[in-house]
Amino acid sequence: MPANADSHDAMIRFRGAGVTYPNGVVGLEDVSLDIRRGEFVVIVGSSGAGKSTFLRTINGLTPLSAGSIEVAGQPVPRKQGRELRQLRARIGMVFQDFRLVRRVSVLNNVLIGRVARVAGWRSVLNLWPRADVELAFGALERVGIVDKAYTRAGQLSGGQQQRVGIARALAQEPEVILADEPVASLDPVTCHQVMEDLLRINRELGITTLVNLHFLDLARRYGQRIIGLQQGRLVFDGAGSDVTDADFQRIYGRRPEEDDFLQEARA
């Protein structure tokens, strides 16, 4: 386990966090851990293990039913409202299905990352302040697709769309990025490019990054720290370089199979 000695360093702090959905399904159970500022964390677990639930509690998209979570020392508000919006503004999110408005330009999609900093009426009427447009361009430059700024998002390839998704998160100037299976809909080559982008952004900007991953080889390669979930419980927490096949077996509750790897069967 990484040392969490310096508690002032904790960017995200889970304490006995639990989620029980209205239908009675337990999505997360009694999770306690600290994530330090600037860490790059990969979360693994089989389908339904609670990876998405884990990420979505951090920005309050899924409300906690037990315990608490603090982001930068501030508890995640349980109610909708200004306070929660301001917290969300500091946390960028990247989705498996990109979630871009396909009919709208790449630039306008990235500008959605500025919603919390711009007056509602200005954003809705598309009267974005120059400084925010500048920031959106900067974010597009960082992921290398600024040339597509005026293209409709729906016309881009999957990998390009995910870069727009990352740029939208970056436009928030976030302290944390949550990426929920950001490469699950991409081909292997694009997959690595997008992971490299996320890693580079984490290093260059020091943004604390949490990534849900399906593939074990990707997790081992990119996860400086790996968190394993099984049926909503924390079952592994360690450095990516140390993780063994036995650990994976424990996380998955079974022997890793071919489907659990992106590339060839076994490395």
Binding site: N59, L61, R85, Q86, L87, R88, A89, I91, G92, M93, F95, D97, R99, L100, V101, R103, V104, I112, G113, V115, A116, G120, W121, S123, V124, L125, R168, A169, Q172
Partner: protein
């Protein structure tokens, strides 16, 4: 295996329904004084009318341009005002994005009430407020457009991809931003199509309202008819036919490109 017996054709039921329909039609016809014999007796009057209407008075055509413009202007104002108001009305009545249950219920009922009342009723209502004329017509058509557009548009909004609105919320967006940046951009093409459709209806509506004094071509038609100027009436009807067809074809072509 045994073949199943054919289902009972329920001849008795169908006979009862048919007999009921016939009885109701006859009863209605008698009540309103509809009689075939009268129709036949009056046929000479009808044919005289037709003969007097021919040929249409083409010399009258230039004097129709102004009224036609007014008719279209009334329709246009009604459509634009109605289209703007219909946006919030439709959004608040769309279940998945409506801010709360109470707003949703109230707005839904508001929409239903608007739809129950015909445009002529609104025209009368506004006429008592602002007097008979183009303004009353435009106001009536505004309400009518809200009713038509909001109903259709609200259904489109209900069918949007809610993952996009969640993405806006995840960035810290407010309800307004979720609607304006996540929801509406998905449905603008449908909205434009509904507005065009409302415009088509409004052009026709505007003519009918003219008959009761809202101005435009309908009013000219009414005055010429009252003066027994049947050749001019024929000219007006011919022109209306052409204009309505043109506007409809134009609108249909535009709508095809949108959706």
């Amino acid at each position: 295996m045994n073949r199943p017996a054919p289902p009972d054709r329920q001849l008795g039921l169908w006979f009862t329904i048919a007999a009921g329909l016939v009885a109701m039609t006859v009863w209605s016809g008698v009540s309103i004084g509809f009689s075939i014999s009268e129709l036949v007796c009056n046929a000479p009057g009808g044919s005289r009318l037709l003969r007097e209407s021919w040929p249409p008075d083409f010399a009258f055509l230039p004097r129709l341009i102004g009224p036609f413009l007014e008719t279209v202007q009334i329709a246009l104002i009604g459509t634009v005002v109605g289209a703007v108001i219909a946006i919030p009305v439709a959004v608040l009545a769309a279940r998945p994005v409506s801010p709360n249950w109470l707003t949703w219920i109230l707005d839904r009922n508001f929409m239903n009430i608007l739809r129950t009342l015909p445009d002529l009723f609104w025209a009368m209502l506004f006429a008592t407020a602002v007097g008979f004329g183009p303004l009353a017509g435009a106001l009536a058509l505004s309400v009518f457009s809200v009713a038509v557009i909001s109903k259709l548009f609200s259904e489109s909004v209900e069918a949007i991809d809610l993952n996009l609105t969640e993405a806006v919320r995840a960035s810290g967006g407010s309800w307004l931003q979720m609607i304006g940046l996540g929801a509406l951009p998905q449905v603008w093409p449908q909205y434009a199509a509904y507005v065009l459709y409302a415009f088509e209806l409004n052009v026709r509506g505007s003519m009918v309202l003219g008959l009761v004094g809202a101005g435009g071509i309908g009013m000219i038609l009414e005055t010429q008819r009252a003066n027994f100027e049947y050749e001019r009436v024929a000219m007006i009807i011919l022109a209306v036919l052409v204009v309505v067809l043109l506007i409809e074809q134009f609108s249909i072509a535009l709508r095809r490109r949108l959706t």
